[in-house]
Symmetry: C2
Subunit: 457 residues, 2 copies
Amino acid sequence: MGRKSPCLKPTLVTILTFVALYAFFNTFLTPINPNPLSFESSSNSPFSILSSSSSSFNSPPPVKVYLYDLPRKFTYGVVESYLKARDPSISIPVDDVSNLKYPGNQHSAEWWLFSDLIKEDRYGSPIVRVLDPEDADLFYVPFFSSLSLVANPIRPVSGVNVNSNVGGSVYSDEEMQQSLMEWLEEQIYWKRNNGWDHVFICQDPNALYKVIDRIKNGILLVSDFGRLTRDQASLVKDVILPYSHRINPFIGEIGVEGRNSLLFFMGNRYRKEGGKVRDLLFQVLESEEDVIIKHGAQSRESRRMATQGMHSSKFCLHPAGDTPSACRLFDAIVSLCIPVIVSDQIELPFEDAIDYKKIAIFVDSDTAVKPGHLTKMLRKIRTEKILEYQQELKEVKRYFEYDDPNGTVNEIWRQVTLKLPLVKLMINRDKRLVRRELNEPDCSCLCSNKTGARPTF
Amino acid sequence: MGRKSPCLKPTLVTILTFVALYAFFNTFLTPINPNPLSFESSSNSPFSILSSSSSSFNSPPPVKVYLYDLPRKFTYGVVESYLKARDPSISIPVDDVSNLKYPGNQHSAEWWLFSDLIKEDRYGSPIVRVLDPEDADLFYVPFFSSLSLVANPIRPVSGVNVNSNVGGSVYSDEEMQQSLMEWLEEQIYWKRNNGWDHVFICQDPNALYKVIDRIKNGILLVSDFGRLTRDQASLVKDVILPYSHRINPFIGEIGVEGRNSLLFFMGNRYRKEGGKVRDLLFQVLESEEDVIIKHGAQSRESRRMATQGMHSSKFCLHPAGDTPSACRLFDAIVSLCIPVIVSDQIELPFEDAIDYKKIAIFVDSDTAVKPGHLTKMLRKIRTEKILEYQQELKEVKRYFEYDDPNGTVNEIWRQVTLKLPLVKLMINRDKRLVRRELNEPDCSCLCSNKTGARPTF
């Protein structure tokens, strides 16, 4: 301290000033992550660094999404109708929509995506919301189509047939679908590109079913393709969403302590189509000692029991339901309960990013219902292998958490952005296609050449 | 100057030092374009800026490509065989491959891509070459498959049947294809993912035809789908490449001065399949005064004449050949001669980025061969509209210049990177698919719902 000079040489000050000025320009006048510089300008920069990640200079601009300002009845109005049907004392429309609560259900992605788009601060999102449709790459249609399916009163209002589309004040999902299309088909941006650049959410397998052929050019956000034909939806054009999990995530560490039962399942024993396997699984599993398999419908109490069961089992059975997907899979994942998937037609969310073989066990239906087979196979899996699965489950958990800021919502948008090049291609191609008489539809496909694989794990 | 203080206050120095230190950390310890920070870490940064381009934080890492070190005979060896067959005095193998010249031809993309990948400085490319296959997202197989098709001697060597696969020193493309597959099928990275992550170039419609079913999982770089079935190739899985233009680009400005003929075509009058339209077009066009339509084969002299014709015509006819594509289209584009495309099945390169309706006129075959129709339609197009087309042609020209540093090569790689999410999806999905008996192939498709569009311009 005694040696400290009270007076520094101007040279040092000059150097410091220069560095400080450079810092100022570099730090505060450049965005943290500058947008792609052109090849020319970047190579002319006096401080350019030839980094190996040079490709980012060619990275595409962010995908711009326009949120349609739909008439209120298609968004908040659906929630209000739902609530009003269950509690007629509620006064609607509510004054402050921020008090409006979307009901807890497995198809709530429509609410999460809408809420995300109207947020002020969308920092970290893979898409940018634009307010001018002229700027948009894609158009999001935020109709709450899944809630609309169940917005009717649970019990018929006396004297009114709820199935009728005529009943004055009674909510009709079909009328809503028709009304949405009437509104949309008037929009210039809908007409401009035949809907290729429009995004619809229809997470419930029956959502938008009346108008699906009119929107099939669009990107559909769905749970599976169980009720959709090949020309309506596909892995190439559309996005598979996870259901919202309905039970609480398991908070503890990985491990088999406290997970005393081998296999757990609770749900409806009787289902249609692929879901018929359920009854057969009940038959081969219900007498097994370390297996908990229960018939039960959705309720607060059954969710409590399912939580307890999934948090205390090593494996969780996921048989097909009426369609190949079900929310139970995502309940199992957040419970760190290794899913045992018996659903031959299942499509899984975000499968480009997630290797499901690392987090789940796949068994084809025929093998799964052989007496004794499933439990014998599961009992053979060593503890280290179980811990490996659990560790992987933990790592991918965020993909299934709609309320995680870096979770499901961002991942759905990322998936949507991946569709953009094909959307643009189809728009441009359709414009110049000449009239052709074809023997088969004009389709571009990606086919699995897998002739069959033994179920393995 | 007289007021300059020789001695600065320590406070200022402290501030400057602090700023300089911050600058040092911020500038020199952070790459120019840092890789995606996690959402959490970026929002905790003391100097985080909430920019509208926040999405770049979620931008994917660069796509990493491994270039197979194929036995020499599949790359430089093909060029040598080709040259040797034409000039037996050449001594091969050459000592210095940098002297080896790939022959000028329309299928030279295989040479350009290979040369690009082995370049030291790949700055500005949408992909990064990795030297360890473990790091790779995609694997490039650089066999010169198109040149291999024509590497045989033009005239049979006396006493040897060039069509025989047995002839000792005679080059056999079919043997090369078989030999490539034998080599590849031994590679662990080929076996690992059933070839989904492999990239092949087969620009000539006949290239790799013998083994196409063994490589069809891969990304194929092709000119069109004329000789490929739907389960072998598609717009979704593969990439359409432009041919290398064979005539010199038009250097001048846009304009109609010096472009006195209305429509130009020079090429083979007689072709198979869709190309049969050519003879009909000759019949309706050859008597028109301001139309130049000539029968001619590939030669240096015909290229000179084609250059002159394309540089001095407003429109250039592009009828289908044996397959829907042909290099003539790209000759026309770089000539700023507005292409008139009469090829009902044509697929076009980079159509997500290029709106071909802005640079070309599409006429279906039936309409094009109606006597008087085509010329009448073209004569009606006003000069302003012609200049608009030319301006657009000028803007997209770089996409068709293989030697432009920001041209075709980068665009092909960009197209390849766009396939990666679907490649990863198919890899993961195939691993967990259970054996299924299906009535039809397991395909995901993107279908045009266009039932027909009147040719317009």
